[in-house]
């Protein structure tokens, strides 16, 4: 009974690195996956999905050091839902309307971009707090 999400996309902005009160590093990434296909009318269609990805532990520091806006990245992770509803968490936009996003907790991050080569970081599970990863 599990769920896994795979993404290959580009960062929409620079990573944001933070530390939890007990010193664990956490980076937030905003990743866009852009997909194109030809519709029945032969016209090119395009769709972008935005993913809010959190990366924990040593990997979080690597991410904030090596990735920046525009970097290409591969992520394997799981959807972090609202525990109350089992669906996306709702939050208020600056205009007061309800918004929702795809929040992903990364298990694997690979740097696939041209800038700086193809390093990859597969953290051990202990980098991720038990509450964040299951």
């Amino acid at each position: 009974m599990r769920q896994t999400i795979f993404l290959a996309g580009n960062l929409g902005r620079d990573p944001e690195l933070r530390y939890t009160p007990n010193g664990t590093a956490m980076s937030r990434l905003s990743v866009a996956t852009n997909e194109k296909w030809s519709g029945q009318d032969g016209q090119l269609q395009e769709r972008t999905i935005w993913w809010r990805v959190s990366v924990w532990g040593k990997q979080a520091e690597n991410v904030s050091q090596y990735l920046k806006k525009g970097s290409q990245v591969f992520i394997e992770g799981r959807m972090d839902s609202d525990p109350e509803t089992g669906g996306p968490r709702l939050w208020k936009g600056s205009d007061g309307s309800d918004r929702a996003s795809y929040e992903i907790i990364a298990r694997v991050v690979k740097f696939t971009g041209q800038r700086g080569g193809g390093a990859s970081f597969e953290p051990s599970d202990k980098d991720i707090p038990p509450e964040a990863f299951f």
Binding site: L7, G9, P88
Partner: protein, 144 residues
């Protein structure tokens, strides 16, 4: 560039099949993925995520025929976002509160059996060509 979702879970209720105006069948159902882990306090924790899955064409008919509430399935598919925001679509319920859900268009469905039923015998091996590339767009027209 690319994304994929792989889910193993159980149906929360029986599937519902409908036909598009051109006769294409589409089946919708919700599945729960359930994960358990031990918290730092040593307590067993559990989280359920709900996914709304749409299945198209031949697969839709197979799902409608062989799956029911409680059946276990493996789904490989793609998230269908709100095209305006690139995030989950936010809807308003009858009572005025907002909600959002994870909507998935299935590319592959496998029947893994169920809680004490015979659905494991179903032909759960659809092909990618059963899913129209524009499936996610058409499906927005379906009145849920």
């Amino acid at each position: 560039m690319y994304h994929k979702v792989v889910l193993v879970g159980n149906l929360g209720r029986d599937p519902e099949m409908r036909y598009m105006q051109d006769g294409t069948p589409v089946t919708n159902f919700s599945i729960a993925t359930n994960e358990k882990w031990t918290g730092q306090d040593g307590e067993q924790k559990e989280r359920t995520v709900w996914w709304r899955v749409s299945v198209w064409r031949k697969q839709a008919e197979a799902c409608n025929q062989y799956l029911n509430s409680g059946s276990q399935v493996l789904i490989e598919g793609r998230i269908r976002p709100d095209p305006e925001t690139g995030g989950p679509k936010v809807f308003t319920r009858n009572d005025g509160t907002s909600g959002a859900s994870y909507e998935v268009t299935a590319q592959v469905v496998r029947f893994l059996g169920g809680r004490g039923d015979a659905s494991a015998a179903g032909p759960g091996t659809p092909r990618d060509e059963d899913v129209p590339p524009e499936a996610s767009i058409e499906e927005d027209a379906i009145p849920f």
